[in-house]
Amino acid sequence: MIGLWYEDHEIGQTAPLGAHRFTREAILEFARKFDPQPFHLDEAAAAKSIFGGLCASGWHTVSVSMRLLVDGRRAQRKALTTHDEKPPPLGLGRGVRDLRWFAPVRPGDEIAFSLRIDSMRDTRRADWGLIGMRIIGVNQDGREVCAYTLMGLAARRPA
């Protein structure tokens, strides 16, 4: 497990984020709200598309990975609090680099996500560092379906 303060991170560290099964119902619900293109909504239209069948919106896939990342951190924050340790202030995301969707996510697919620390650097604010973490999603057949680098602020441990 990687700690929550900036100093707890090290380039090259990896951690699993957990897995999520994408149901047809959830794929359709997300698509109806945010990405109502035929290949995310309609099996027959999807069969004729570049995807060759219904698949999740790429924004759905990455949003689920965020949920898993946040859940893991929430558990860590809770554990710190129960040990009477104050968790670090939460940092905001600054952006994303090199987001790739390699293969479609189909109804019933189970995607396992992991993270890898790729970069760490100072910011203009002495109390925050910027961490680049590569989030990678792999399906039940071992095929990479998506990857992106999330650039997020992490609080520095007070001296």
Binding site: Q37, I50, F51, S63, L90, D98
Partner: protein, 154 residues
């Protein structure tokens, strides 16, 4: 309106479209499902955070921009998904009541090497709020089907 193909996105074109007001309810609803951090969930907790008040998840902003792009462009086009996005920058917070629109710039266009019926269009999308401040910038590629032989632009 005409269906839009790869050929209908000339390099250098800048277009603005969309009008979507974001509510506190939908910010919280998205956050509960995908990004349950205090500054996306709860006004009081958000005020004490570095967000200084409730803000939309950056992924919610991306999803809302996708919806605007679908309604205004993609659903009347031959869009065939995206291989990826080079960069997303969350520049300013999106807050309840903000009115969002999109400015799209076509940066490049080339036929696919492997699929003669597909073209790749490089686009920059800027999500703006009511005062025209850019809150999110995104740059990446979109696949579009090429105009079939014989079909002419009206």
């Amino acid at each position: 309106m005409d269906r839009l193909y790869f050929e209908d996105f000339p390099v250098g074109e800048v277009v603005e479209f969309g009008d979507r007001v974001v509510t506190a309810e939908e910010i919280v609803e998205f956050a509960r499902e995908f990004d349950p951090q205090p500054f996306h969930l709860d006004e009081a907790a958000a005020r004490e955070s570095m967000a200084a008040g409730l803000i939309a998840s950056g992924w919610h902003s991306a999803a809302l921009m996708m919806r605007i792009n679908c309604d205004e462009v993609f659903l009347r086009s031959s869009a065939q998904g995206s291989p990826g996005i080079d960069s997303i920058d969350w520049l300013k917070p999106v807050r309840p009541g903000d009115r969002l629109s999109v400015r799209r710039t076509t940066l490049g266009a080339r036929p696919s090497r492997s699929r003669p019926d597909i073209g790749v269009v490089e686009m920059r999308f800027e999500l703006m709020k009511q005062n025209r401040e850019v809150v999110m910038r995104q740059q990446g590629a979109v696949f579009f089907g090429r105009r079939p032989n014989g079909e002419t632009k009206a």
